[in-house]
């Protein structure tokens, strides 16, 4: 493998303290229960090691609670590893959920600026792409209405349209591909593919085996936070299919 190393993950482990995920109140803090060191740990990921080189499209597959989302959080530097190391060379763009930074009281147009700022797009870039974004979102005159009047479909269309203006080096996607109606889905898939052509590395999380088989060069299979397989997409996906009973897994649920 001569192409440069972009993602280097070594022995990655991330845990959640079960106690912490429940309520921590002042009382339990005073009594000392809230931060108890012996609170049971839940390892969302443990001992995960893999490398990703330039030009690869990495699919991540696994059941619910397998640690796929946590892996995305770690790769995008939202969560710091509790064990091991995550090295990512290049600028990471994350599409874990659409329109998370929206302000309900502002117009679609103002929200484009706001969301773009969260994604790290400079204002002048957004200004030059504004018309393109509005056109892509198919919102028309609604763009100057506060988005609390939008339907959820309109909102995610707007979210996707802003994200589509990104020009990422490393792109991390977590099942955000099914946006809007069929026509918009087709359009957004097309846009994603062209984004992928420009990216150095793509990490794609999905439940849909056929979708991953079609797009990915490599695959990573997680189960209960542990790495079950990593390698060429076809091989790993075949293993996964065999292990999961070969059923046509059309689980529509989003990962945790």
């Amino acid at each position: 493998m001569s192409s440069p190393l972009v993602i280097d993950v070594k022995g990655l482990g991330i845990f959640y303290r079960l106690q912490q995920r429940r309520r921590v109140g002042i009382k339990s803090l005073l009594v000392g229960g809230g931060f108890r060191r012996d609170a049971p740990l839940l390892w969302a990921l443990r001992g995960v090691t893999f490398q990703c080189h330039e030009g690869q499209i990495l699919g991540v597959i696994g059941g619910n609670g397998a640690g796929k989302s946590t892996l995305c959080l770690a790769l995008s530097k939202i969560l710091m590893p509790d064990e091991g190391k995550v090295k990512v060379r290049g600028e990471v763009s994350t599409l874990l959920s659409l329109g998370a930074g929206f302000n309900r009281d502002l117009s679609g147009r103002d929200n484009i600026y706001l969301n773009a700022a969260f994604l790290g797009l400079p204002r002048r870039v957004i200004e030059s792409k504004m018309e393109e974004i509005i056109e892509f979102s198919e919102l028309g005159e609604f763009i100057d209405q506060p988005i609390r009047f939008y339907s959820s479909g309109m909102r995610s269309r707007l979210g996707f349209s802003v994200a589509a203006a990104l020009d990422p080096e490393i792109l991390i996607l977590d099942e955000v591909l099914s946006v809007g109606d069929r026509a918009f889905q087709r359009k957004s898939r097309k846009r994603l593919k062209s984004m992928m052509d420009h990216s150095r590395v793509i990490v794609l999380v999905s439940h849909q085996v056929e979708f991953l088989r079609e797009l990915c060069t490599h695959c990573l299979w997680l189960e209960r936070g542990e790495l079950r397989g990593f390698g060429k997409a076809d091989e790993v996906l075949d293993q996964y299919m065999t292990a999961s009973g070969g059923a046509d897994d059309a689980e529509p649920e989003a990962s945790a």
Binding site: S76, G101, D105, D110, L114, P122
Partner: protein
């Protein structure tokens, strides 16, 4: 993305957009729009004026009382507004924090900055009221920008700390209302610091043990100094004592540094609690 200085500088666009968005959504929610930022302090001032002077018949030594109360009420409102919002901000924006990598410190910071812009509108009301009541406005006004800067540091520092604890301790925001209420009465908002000095140095309270220390301790409260500073600048038209400048500067620096370090410590750890 960790909340360090270089990431914050790199994402200054985000700080600006988020502050503007906050202000825009405030002004678009109300019929008066940004005019509300002028009307709001006026109404509050009228209420306290009516209650303290009109009903209780107090504050004659602080005439004109509207100028006197605005000097303290405006910075106090900046503080309580920022702290209350900061306590909830990380929990409130958890979906965002877990979806997009950005230095989360911008969230409490923009709250403080948006509140500060409201405060700036309030100072227009303050200066207008001072002119209306014929206050001796002169060179002493030059202290205001420095006081504002120190106020920003104090409010930032405390808000950053509160933002961390608000994320860790869910019930904090419930208690915060009471804590700030206690702070309100312990700080010279409705009365002047001279009253504290009088009570503990001469009055019946002067017989308490260590009574002579109480005014000094009282003046360690950065807000006591801030309010005194604004009153010296606008109400009395004199300079704040150098001792108070020194204490306030040290406290502002310590609070800002402490809040900043605390936030950096909890920065990524806090996400697992959300």
């Amino acid at each position: 993305m960790i909340s360090n200085w270089s990431n914050l500088v790199a994402r200054r666009d985000l700080v600006r957009e988020l502050t503007l968005a906050e202000l825009r959504s405030q002004s678009q929610e109300t019929r008066l729009g940004w005019l509300f930022w002028l009307v709001d302090p006026l109404i509050m001032m009228l209420i306290y004026w009516g209650v303290v002077v009109g009903i209780f018949g107090r504050g004659e030594q602080y005439t004109p009382y509207p100028v006197f109360i605005l000097c303290a009420m405006l910075p106090w409102k900046h503080f309580t507004g920022s702290v209350n919002a900061s306590a909830k901000i990380l929990r409130g924006r958890d979906a965002l924090i877990k979806a997009i990598p950005f230095p989360t410190i911008v969230l409490p910071l923009t709250i403080v900055l948006a509140g500060f812009s409201n405060f700036l509108f309030g100072t227009i009301v303050l200066l207008g009221t001072a002119v209306a009541f014929d206050r001796p406005l002169g060179m002493s006004l030059l202290q205001i920008p420095v006081l504002m800067f120190l106020q920003l540091a104090v409010v930032c520092g405390i808000s950053l700390g509160v933002a961390c604890f608000g994320a860790l301790v869910r019930d904090l925001s419930g208690f915060l209302g009471h804590l700030t209420r206690i702070g309100f009465y312990l700080s010279p908002v409705l009365y002047g610091v001279d009253m504290v000095q009088d009570r503990f140095l001469q009055g019946p309270l002067g017989k308490l043990p260590f009574a002579e220390w109480i005014p000094t301790l009282y003046m360690l409260n950065p807000f006591a100094i801030l309010f005194t500073g604004y009153r010296d600048a606008v109400f009395y038209g004199r300079m704040l004592e150098p001792y108070y400048w020194a204490v306030l500067t040290v406290e502002a620096a310590l609070l800002l540094f402490g809040g900043w370090r605390l936030y950096q410590y909890f920065d990524r750890r806090v996400i697992k609690f959300l």
